[in-house]
Subunit: 228 residues, 2 copies
């Protein structure tokens, strides 16, 4: 069985990626990062999802990026915006180099596991303009991965799979529903409460809500209060 490390945030996208990898018969090693994000609810969600979708193992790695700050997700003094930013701008919820760091940790684990794949739920359609979600970034990381590792230079390349990168949110949701994923167990909100209930106002909530609407499906998200 092909082994894959699957980056699992606890949100909707990465849960779908794990579901797809399992459907393809991969032995999945789910990896989450406790990087100093505002809430632990998404990590609780990741653990639930890993179990439900049959990951062989789930690791939550600690790496505290809040000591550096520079993002509304890791610095409590920066507010999470309630409205989308201007087109072409990168919002303050961008965490400097976070996806590079997560992929790098995944790469280390993949090499030890002799896994030939890293599955990464980046999306470049319905997203917030983050630089480290674009296909060019992923391609550059894959190139780096095979120069960086013993596996790579010995001819056992490690591929970065991004099965949902070109899909609108509605299409991702339809895939997940087809796979039987319970999206009420996922947490996308940037500022969920301890029970994982979403704010309904941040960019992540907005994109997710619009995705369910576009898919013509009821939104199973648990909100703290009915969204406006």
């Amino acid at each position: 069985m092909t082994r894959a490390v699957v980056l699992l945030s606890g949100g909707l996208d990465s849960a779908t990626v794990l579901g797809l990898a399992r459907e393809q018969g991969r032995e999945c090693f789910a990896l989450s990062l406790r990087y100093g994000q505002r809430h632990a609810a998404e990590l609780d969600a990741a653990a639930r999802i890993a179990r439900t979708l049959g990951a062989a193992r789930h690791e939550i790695v600690d790496l505290d990026l809040s000591r550096f700050g520079g993002s509304a997700l890791t610095d409590a003094s920066l507010a999470v915006p309630e409205r989308p930013g201007a087109p072409g701008t990168i919002p303050v919820t961008y965490v400097p180099a976070r996806n590079t760091i997560m992929l790098a940790v995944a790469l280390g684990w993949a090499e030890v596991l002799q896994a030939g794949e890293i599955h990464f739920g980046a999306n470049a359609v319905d997203y917030s303009g983050y630089p480290d979600c674009r296909p060019a970034f992923v391609a550059a990381f894959e190139q780096l991965a095979n120069l960086a590792t013993k596996a790579g230079i010995e001819g056992r390349p490690i591929h970065v799979r991004t099965p949902i990168i070109d899909m609108p949110k509605a299409a991702i949701i339809r895939e997940g529903v087809r796979l039987g994923i319970d999206y009420s167990a996922t947490v996308s909100c940037y500022q969920a409460d301890e029970q994982g209930r979403a704010c309904g106002t941040c960019d992540a909530c907005r994109i997710r809500r619009e995705g369910f609407a576009a898919a013509g499906l009821a939104d199973p998200t648990r909100y703290r209060q009915p969204p406006r």
Copy 2:
């Protein structure tokens, strides 16, 4: 003053890189990783070196790679070899993706600090054949860095400087001596004891000892017992 994040392991090479960066007038932010290595002595050394050489700040970031294992440096059940491996092989002291992870964390901090440079003490001459010490790896990381970050895509590129990558160990040592670096305070050994005293037999000890000999300088390394 140009800001630079300097990767500082506590060994001879990265201490020299920090000394060179300070000589060039950089405001230096030293970064070390507690990744589950066999001993903490090199991190104590890093803290001393950062202070002595005038780093503006020194951060030790925790990221436990020993949960993944796969290297003699992070897995106590794998012995550190006492002899060099066959030419062209990568020794068991290679830590999967470690330098990629360290550079990724440095990238995140550099972006928050608005530092335009990461200084990295990779060496591709007197080294152990690690894939993530070669110029091609460094070039690929720099390319990735500027696709991955807001700074990069907004035209504030982050450069990876590797001032000693092409230097034989003896030349590095001569540079450090010129800068007044006290190499007795650095720890290169893979299995130093708690006081930072070197084993004298591992690959890192051998390369370092041969470097002092080739430079025609007395070896100030503190050994547990006189090297064979």
